[in-house]
């Protein structure tokens, strides 16, 4: 089992993006997915960083794929999706819409926001050319195990959401804009003020969700540190780590130690709590409990 870093969920500046991928080049991850995953309005601010990031990551021996948007609606977004397939890099589809633009026989990856819940869907995607599939975060371990087996039979590497705030919902409406009494079309890019998303609490002050533009993430950081052995035994090929502000390189190193150097789950979680003081780590989904259920 190895490590994949997913696309950046948040609206970071071009400088932040550049620094992030430079640092990531020196981390023990095998592959990286790059691209605007959430809102096409953000892309012009940082897309010029993508070629350099790809270059620095490939030079460091990482496999690199380009991500589509999670929710493709506008003409511009459909065109951009089609253009991704001309890049020569593998494309990770985050919306099934992208399949309409897939060149015949071109290999592709499937991201966690595509609904792969069963063998039938996995096998259909494999026959179409899928090489890797990151499963939806809400799946329980039993389903993950079934799908990992089906993936091995079909020659598809199955990944699991390993670390970070989980993508829970996507909308046509921008909740960041709504919080500022604006509409999506006149958002003035307010999501840039929250590089780790904006916290939503219950009226009792209990942190609950994270607003990230049109995307809603969990407040808790998912961590499968406690289930890494079970996932490996089930035949899962990789854990997906989701970029976040702070010392993300340290997060990747902890997971590498967990997978390769016998670091215990308990020590991994203790390490994560040192890197991200105040964060709540959860992993109810794999145990078929509420996703928000905290890690022990």
């Amino acid at each position: 089992m190895d490590l994949t870093v997913g696309p950046i969920a948040f609206f970071w500046s071009a400088e932040q993006v550049r620094a992030f991928y430079r640092t990531l080049a020196d981390t023990p991850v095998q592959r990286v997915v790059i691209g605007e995953w959430v809102c096409s309005k953000r892309l012009p601010f940082w897309q010029h960083e993508i070629p350099a990031a790809v270059e620095v990551l490939q030079a460091a021996g990482k496999e690199v794929a380009l991500s589509t948007l999670t929710l493709i609606t506008l003409k511009r977004e459909r065109r951009q999706t089609a253009e991704l397939f001309a890049s020569g890099l593998p494309v990770e589809i985050a919306d099934l819409t992208a399949l309409q633009h897939l060149p015949e026989g071109a290999p592709f990856w499937v991201g966690p926001t595509v609904n792969v819940y069963n063998e039938g869907t996995l096998e259909w995607l494999a026959a179409k050319g899928a090489q890797r599939i990151c499963l939806p975060p809400e799946l329980p371990l039993e389903s993950v195990a079934q799908l990992a087996r089906a993936g091995q039979d079909a020659g598809v590497a199955v990944e699991v959401w390993g670390h970070g705030r989980a993508p829970l919902a996507i909308s046509g409406r921008c909740y960041h804009a709504r919080l500022h009494d604006r509409a999506k079309d006149s958002c003035q890019f307010v999501c840039a003020e929250d590089p780790d998303g904006r916290t939503v609490e219950t009226l009792e002050g209990q942190p609950f969700l994270t607003v990230n533009g049109v995307q809603t993430l969990s407040y808790t950081h998912m961590s499968v540190a406690g289930q890494a052995d079970a996932l490996r035994d089930a035949g899962v090929a990789a854990l997906r780590l989701s970029p976040q502000p702070g010392d993300f390189a340290a997060v990747t190193r902890l997971y590498a130690q967990l997978l390769e150097s016998g670091l215990s789950a308990q020590d991994a979680l203790a390490g994560l709590r040192r890197i991200q003081p105040g964060a709540i780590f959860a992993q109810g989904f794999l145990e078929a409990r509420p996703g928000a259920a905290p890690c022990p």
Binding site: L71, I72, L96, P136, E142, L168, E201, L203, A292
Partner: protein, 331 residues
């Protein structure tokens, strides 16, 4: 005339909808294969056969929703549902899962396939993909699109479109939302339920009514005020801005329901084939009343007459309704 597609959670509701003027009713089997998997709701095989006979005898159609995502290792339950719907003479099945659609297209080539809103096909590329690959004949559009966008989509696709005009309003892309399982462990995609009643608790605390979903407080209203059902995305929350301020309120959506009655002429002009009413969990009396009102509305639209205003106001959740994303200001 646009086709009116009406909900039937029970055989009695099916008969009521047909009698009230529904062109088409949709229903599901009493198990996890459909997205309204509520206790006491839905159809046995025998009830579906009787319902189809009743509808067909009166010139109405029956669609069977098999629109959850089959559980890994357990696909046979979903395959059986599609096979039984075909065998019993359903006029179409409404599907969401890619693998299940592929199975239905291959195993039941004569069966008419509709793409469920749970498939979240929100643009012409996605719709054309399903049409060209599997022969999907109709798509139920997500409730995140404006009338302008629906018009533009219809220009680029060959298949029919169906849109929701009344009932619950999902503000997230449907079929792509795990908020419910995050709070309760149960989700629309896996279990056919959202914010399930089994995880709801009401309490009176310090002069307030409180409604919880799982461990999370979703609504708090002063005593004497009704407390809405704690549907997660319609909850009242706060969001600190990190500078000592912030907002408190319905951060995702108010506890409103969808009423696009006044947009029916615009939807007709946009090329929409069918109007869908949500509410398989609703009573027979509710269904009859809504169906009658909407039948009058589609007939008025067909003749270019004005829409009956406020006809359904008292039936909507929390007495408040919205036209949702159809009017673009929503965003």
């Amino acid at each position: 005339m646009m086709e009116l597609v009406c909900p039937a959670g029970t055989p009695a509701a099916l008969r009521a909808a047909v009698d009230a003027g529904a062109h088409t009713v949709y229903c599901g089997f009493a198990d996890e294969t459909n997205a309204r998997n509520f206790p006491g709701l839905n159809f046995s095989r025998e009830e579906l056969a009787e319902g189809i006979a009743y509808a067909h005898a009166r010139g109405a159609h029956v669609l069977v929703a098999i629109n959850t995502f089959p559980r890994a290792g357990d696909q046979a339950l979903w395959h059986r549902a599609v096979g039984d719907a075909a065998r019993l003479g359903a006029d179409a099945v409404i599907l969401a899962d890619l693998g299940l659609i592929a199975h239905a297209a291959e195993a039941h080539p004569g069966l008419r396939l509709h793409l469920s809103v749970q498939a979240a096909a929100a643009n012409p590329d996605a719709i054309n993909f399903y049409a060209e690959t599997f022969g999907i004949r109709r798509v139920v559009l997500p409730r995140v699109l404006s009338v302008e966008e629906i018009t533009a989509i219809n220009r680029e696709i060959e298949v029919e479109t169906e849109v929701f005009v009344f009932g619950g309003l999902c503000v997230m892309a449907e079929g792509r939302c795990s908020l419910s399982s995050y709070a309760t462990g149960l989700s629309p995609n896996m279990n056919g339920v959202c914010s399930p009643a089994s995880h709801v608790a009401y309490a009176d605390v310090a002069g307030n009514h409180e409604a919880r979903l799982g461990d999370f407080l979703i609504h708090r209203t002063p005593k004497g005020m009704p407390v809405p059902y704690p549907t997660l995305c319609k909850g009242c929350f706060s969001s600190p801005d990190g500078k000592g301020g912030g907002q408190t309120g319905h951060i995702f959506e108010d506890p409103v329901s969808l009423d696009a009655t006044r947009l029916i002429p615009a939807l007709q002009k946009a090329g929409v084939s069918a109007l869908k009413i949500e509410g398989r969990q609703r009573s027979r009396a509710y269904v009859a009343q809504v169906v009658r009102a909407f039948r009058a509305a589609v007939e008025a639209a067909d003749q270019g007459a004005p829409m009956p205003e406020g006809l359904l106001a008292r039936l909507t959740e929390g007495q408040a309704a919205t036209t949702g994303a159809y009017a673009k200001t929503w965003r």
